[in-house]
């Protein structure tokens, strides 16, 4: 009896094992879940949904991609994926916040706990100030932050992307110091700047264009803010008159890339399958249009290239994240 039982367990295990290898052989045999660890509607969500639509419309995957929004703090959704079955049906889409959180000690896991799948597009930011601030360049902004340290109010979401951007900026000049104020994301900072509550912040290229430019590229007459520089490697198409930080002589690029991850141990064919589909999707009109609208740079990385780029970003961001977390 006991023997019988053990044998049947062994048998069942063997069958299950066989099933699972069979499943791998035919990946994908059911819909693939992509977890977006933010609420529906935000930028991260829009990126994933643009790719989802492009993949669906062009039949780039034999099974649909379903987007699952996990709200609350983004570490919850990320953790769910980290602990999910590595069966090739669960993926994560996240950005530099993952490194900010790990570096700042908010949670104790990081990008190394996932399999990198692909990097799809990036947006870079622009330091912005009020038009009537008397500050006309990055030089003047940083000079003022140095001459009167801790007085310029810099609106940020503490510990998040724009906060790290502000720290990178003030680190460019010894002794320069902003006073960081918890305001929130891009729109909230635009509001605070417009209402003359803060003096500076960083906004994404799409936000700057949306808040300051007419559709034909001219400046909106009653806008209260102006961008000083662009933190990408090259000037952004929609804002041709804004210089890059490097042109101005500062060694600073700060771009936020969309990363796709899988749980550790996910079969290589699933990772490659999704990466292939994403790569093909970047050539579709839907994604191209989306990149244009959001002023995304069309970077695409996978495999070793992506892993190296992640390590590189981590080396730059970890100290900044520590500074942002006040440690």
């Amino acid at each position: 009896m006991v023997l019988n039982f053990t044998r049947s367990v062994a048998l069942a295990t063997a069958v299950l094992a066989g099933l699972s290898t069979a499943a791998h052989a035919e990946w994908p045999e059911k819909p693939i879940k992509v977890i977006v660890p933010f609420k529906a509607g935000g930028t991260s969500d829009q990126v994933v949904r643009a790719f989802q639509a492009a993949i669906q419309e062009n039949d780039l995957l034999p099974q649909p991609l379903t987007v699952v929004n996990v709200g609350g703090h983004f570490s919850i959704g990320a953790r769910q994926v980290m602990e999910a079955q590595p069966d090739g049906y669960t993926f994560l889409s996240l950005h530099i916040a993952l490194m900010g959180g790990e570096g700042g000690g908010i949670f104790d896991f990081g990008y190394r706990d996932f399999e990198p799948v692909a990097t799809t597009g990036e947006f870079c930011v622009l330091p912005v100030v009020r038009k009537d601030s008397g500050i006309d360049s990055v030089d003047e902004l940083l000079q003022k932050a140095k001459d009167e340290p801790d007085t310029l109010l810099f609106g940020a979401n503490l510990g998040a992307i724009n906060h790290m951007g502000g720290i990178l900026l003030q680190n460019l000049v010894d002794g320069a110091k902003f006073r960081f104020v918890q305001i929130g994301g891009g729109t909230a900072n635009f509001t605070a700047l417009t209402g003359n509550q803060t003096n500076a912040s960083v906004l994404s290229a799409a936000e700057v264009a949306n808040f300051t430019r007419n559709p034909d590229g001219t400046e909106i007459a009653d806008t209260q803010i102006k961008p000083l520089a662009y933190t990408g490697a090259e000037r952004v198409e929609g804002l041709p008159d804004v210089p890059t930080m490097q042109e101005l002589g500062y060694d600073m690029t700060y771009c936020v890339q969309s990363w796709w991850f899988a749980p550790k141990g996910t079969p290589q064919e699933a990772i490659d399958g999704v990466a292939d589909a994403l790569q093909k999707a970047t050539q579709t009109d839907r994604v191209k249009k989306f990149y244009d609208d959001k002023m995304f740079g069309p970077v695409f990385l996978r495999g070793e290239e992506m892993a190296a780029s992640l390590d590189d970003t981590w080396a730059r961001i970890e100290p900044v994240a520590k500074q942002a977390a006040q440690k």
Partner: protein, 507 residues
């Protein structure tokens, strides 16, 4: 302006857009009315569907849902004392007592008419004053917000029924429960007991669904054996008479104005609007003692204000691209999917969409009124569905609705736990209203205060030197003193009467 509006209205009355407004509004009402399901969930889930629609159709569908869900929540708030959405919490205070007293039709009729009126008032403001008002709203700094929220917090004391001490305990407990998670003012986790799922804190909807819907279900199950005293129900009195309109007009307008103003301010939503309108109405009423026992004015104030916040919240969205509420943030996402970015230039780049939004807000409001009035007779019968069937079904809805919102089972457990807590609090005589108000307001209040302190390097001076914070602070103090003053006056007049009688007896 007239061209744009009439054009959009004409467009909405073509078959497809109208169908979408109708579907949206009806779906919103149904989902809003089912305890456990909420408008925010419906709209978030619908977002991916709008992907393949015309932009105008997508936006009118979502606006219909927005209007429908806030109004639909009033049905179950009134009939079952389970608010369908956070903004209907205040409606339960008076709507349910009135329904239990055998006048559910009247309670619903008043709520629906007030909702309609609130929607209309805020719509007119949206139409004429969008630009200047949203620029005004950007000047609202942290100290303005802090004192405004402080003012709303003080109202906790005045909305609590029964024991004042228990009301305060409930209010502070709500505040405390809102605090675990990553603290936005520092980016650091706190009160998480090193448990990562608590990084996101305890979210509003699971807590709210638990504390109101689930606790009510538990309470109803316990008393299922009791023979329900079959109250005589009259659905009559649904349509407001001319006299009703005359009596309630001032209250409606004032509550709508408060709702609109609160709606314009980014980040604070419909629940605060209805609390503020309700308490203002009570403080200005000639019959404040009726509040909490089925006051008509109370229902009107709460429902006019929460619907008015919809139009109010659309104002900064349309004029500046700033979302005025959580649902507006989802609307922005819906527009972005169609390559439409709300911002100061929205009127130039996509005027058809802007006018469609404005027109949809009006049309959805009218559709809401017609649908609700037409179905009240049927809907009021919910009260007679056997509880043995209804309660388990409601529990399933609560589970699905809570899970679907953010896709975590943790939220479902939170909901169940708060159901038990809510039941125990009710049994112990702790009012639930202050709990929710504290829960909603505390995080904002703390964040704004600390943002303000970051700006001034630790000084609270602006509260006293800037006009708006000072006004809000003074009103808060006044509101705090008002009940005490009232009590003192009542006591004094009672003493005088007593003295007079004693004098009469001695002479």
């Amino acid at each position: 302006m007239i061209d744009g509006l009439t054009g959009a209205l004409l467009h909405i009355f073509t078959p497809m857009p109208f169908l979408y407004v109708l579907i949206g509004t009806v779906a919103g009402i149904v989902v809003g009315a089912i305890p456990g399901l909420s408008g925010a969930m419906l709209i978030a889930l619908t977002l991916p569907l709008t992907f393949y629609m015309e932009p105008v159709n997508a936006i009118v569908l979502l606006i219909g849902m927005y209007v429908g869900s806030i109004t639909g929540g009033l049905i179950t708030a009134t009939l079952l004392r389970m608010p369908g959405t956070p903004s209907n919490v205040v409606t339960t205070f008076d709507g349910h007592p009135m329904a239990m007293a055998g006048r559910p039709g009247r309670a619903l009729g008043l709520g629906i008419a007030a909702s309609f009126m609130g929607g209309l008032v805020s719509w007119v403001v949206l139409l004429f004053l969008a630009k200047p008002l949203s620029i005004w709203a950007t000047r609202f700094g942290p100290f303005e917000y802090f004192t405004l929220i402080l003012m709303a917090m003080v109202l906790i004391a005045s909305v609590s029924q029964g024991s004042m001490v228990k009301g305060l305990v409930a209010g502070f407990l709500g505040m405390l429960v809102s605090m675990p998670g990553v603290d936005p003012s520092a980016g650091q986790p706190r009160l998480t007991w090193d448990w990562y799922v608590l990084n996101g804190g305890l979210k509003l909807l699971p807590v709210l669904i638990g504390i109101f819907a689930v606790s009510q279900v538990i309470g109803d199950i316990v008393t299922i054996g009791k023979r329900m005293e079959r109250v005589e129900t009259r659905v009559s009195g649904m349509l407001m008479t001319v006299k009703d309109w005359r009596d309630q007009m001032w209250n409606m307008l004032r509550s709508s104005a408060i709702g609109t103003a609160v709606g314009i301010l980014p980040g604070i939503g419909a629940s605060i609007g209805s609390i503020m309108a309700y308490t203002t109405a009570r403080n200005m009423s000639r019959r404040p003692e009726e509040y909490g026992k089925g006051s008509e004015e109370g229902i009107v104030a709460s429902e006019a204000a929460n619907n008015a916040t919809i139009g109010g919240a659309l104002i900064p969205l349309i004029a500046m691209g700033i979302p005025g509420s959580v649902i507006d943030a989802i609307l922005i996402g819906a527009l972005m999917i169609h390559s439409i970015t709300p911002g100061p230039t929205l009127f130039i780049t996509n005027s058809d969409v802007v006018w469609a939004m404005i027109a949809a807000a009006l049309v959805a409001n009218v559709v809401m009124y017609v649908v609700m009035m037409g179905s009240v007779r049927v809907v009021a019968r919910i009260m007679y569905v056997p509880r043995t069937f209804m309660l388990p079904v409601i529990l399933v809805f609560c589970v699905i609705g809570t899970f679907a919102l953010d896709n975590t089972m943790f939220d479902v457990w939170v909901m169940l736990a708060f159901g038990v807590l809510g039941f125990a609090m009710e049994k112990g005589g702790f009012p639930l209203g202050p709990f929710v108000i504290g829960f909603v307001l505390a995080p904002l209040m703390e964040e704004k205060l600390r943002s303000g302190l970051m700006m001034t390097a630790g000084s609270i001076e602006p509260i006293f030197t800037r006009p708006l914070p000072l006004i809000f602070l003074l009103i808060s103090i006044l509101l705090l003193l008002l009940p005490a003053f009232r009590a003192w006056r009542v006591a004094r007049s009672a003493r005088r009467r007593l003295d007079a009688r004693a004098d009469g007896a001695s002479s």
